[in-house]
Subunit: 198 residues, 2 copies
Amino acid sequence: MSSQPDSALHSDAANPSRREQILRAAAQLFAERGSRAVGVDDVGAAVGVTGPAIYRHFASKDAMLAEMLLRISERLLAGATERIAAAGDSPADQLRALVDFQVDFALDNPALITVQDRDLGALSEPDARRVRQLQRRYVEEWVGVLARLHPDTPTAACRARAHAVFGLINSTPHSAGRLARPAMAQLLAEMAVAAATV
Amino acid sequence: MSSQPDSALHSDAANPSRREQILRAAAQLFAERGSRAVGVDDVGAAVGVTGPAIYRHFASKDAMLAEMLLRISERLLAGATERIAAAGDSPADQLRALVDFQVDFALDNPALITVQDRDLGALSEPDARRVRQLQRRYVEEWVGVLARLHPDTPTAACRARAHAVFGLINSTPHSAGRLARPAMAQLLAEMAVAAATV
DNA sequence: GGGTGAGGTTAACCACCGTTCACACTGTCG
DNA sequence: CGACAGTGTGAACGGTGGTTAACCTCACCC
């Protein structure tokens, strides 16, 4: 149950396993209507099965949401540490790397962005705690870079700054599709760097 | 039913009518847990009555949410046009006025900010349409100013820019309380102007 | 003082939805 | 071939929660 070696083979992105299909469809639906407003029947229908079939792949609807949010947080945290390490020592370069990473993620996964900050409250307390911890560590990666960029501003201000930059970049779901992807990416990155640097 | 002359007298902010108390309590609870996760019993309990008592003041839970969101959108739109008019002709001054207004609103009403973009989907289609129309007009106020500030960027880019600035300023609910109010207001305004001007 | 209306209460109704159950089908492996 | 694991289905169960109904109380007023 815990480690199926072929699960990796199955989820080959071209031919995703049923489990992955469900997670993707659920993320889309959750983003559109909110997790509490979509029924398991809706999720099932989106992948061509009935509602109860979901329970062959997930212990519960809550477990589905929990896995979704945990994965997002893990991907973000891993990506951030990786990008920082690859960016060298200059805080300006590191900031640029973080911004590009977050912009790409937000443009690639608007649904996940929406679900992550809308449905955190629907998680059980233990799950919510784990997600929040990962999120906090992600924020602290940013705070570290911002602190080096603004040596004489208190940490609390850097943290507020980080949240503001997230808000800026994560606005994509609200202004989706209006602008071509490359133009949008460039605009957001410019604005984010400007806001973080001022 | 439609126009009670004394309703204005009742809701004197110091001694709010029961209706106002309910709306405020509901906004707080909706922001914390999401409107679908809050029962009418919860809202009632928050103002010291039982759940069904709500129905003496609102036709339904949905009507409560609808009124809440409509009021927010109206306040924002009215405030924006007013501030622009008061700011004179310079687009830079107008931008500054809009930013200050939005920052004040977000810091004063974090709960409303949260509810507005989280629970729009819970509205009936006619209500949602009205809210979206007001929101669109609010955005267009910003777009007008931004377009004068960036004369040779297409309108779509200005719109994306506006949404990004909203995201930046509306990040307050995520970083609430960490920083003292004046410092927070100044930081957000600086960042917003920088992002809008770049 | 009795009629009236606003605002509350408790109990009950009912729809929705997450979850479980008993069963069916399909492939694979011994 | 027969056992079995995996996956899906329709039906049923049970809790939750919005809404309604019936009744109460108290201020107000002719």
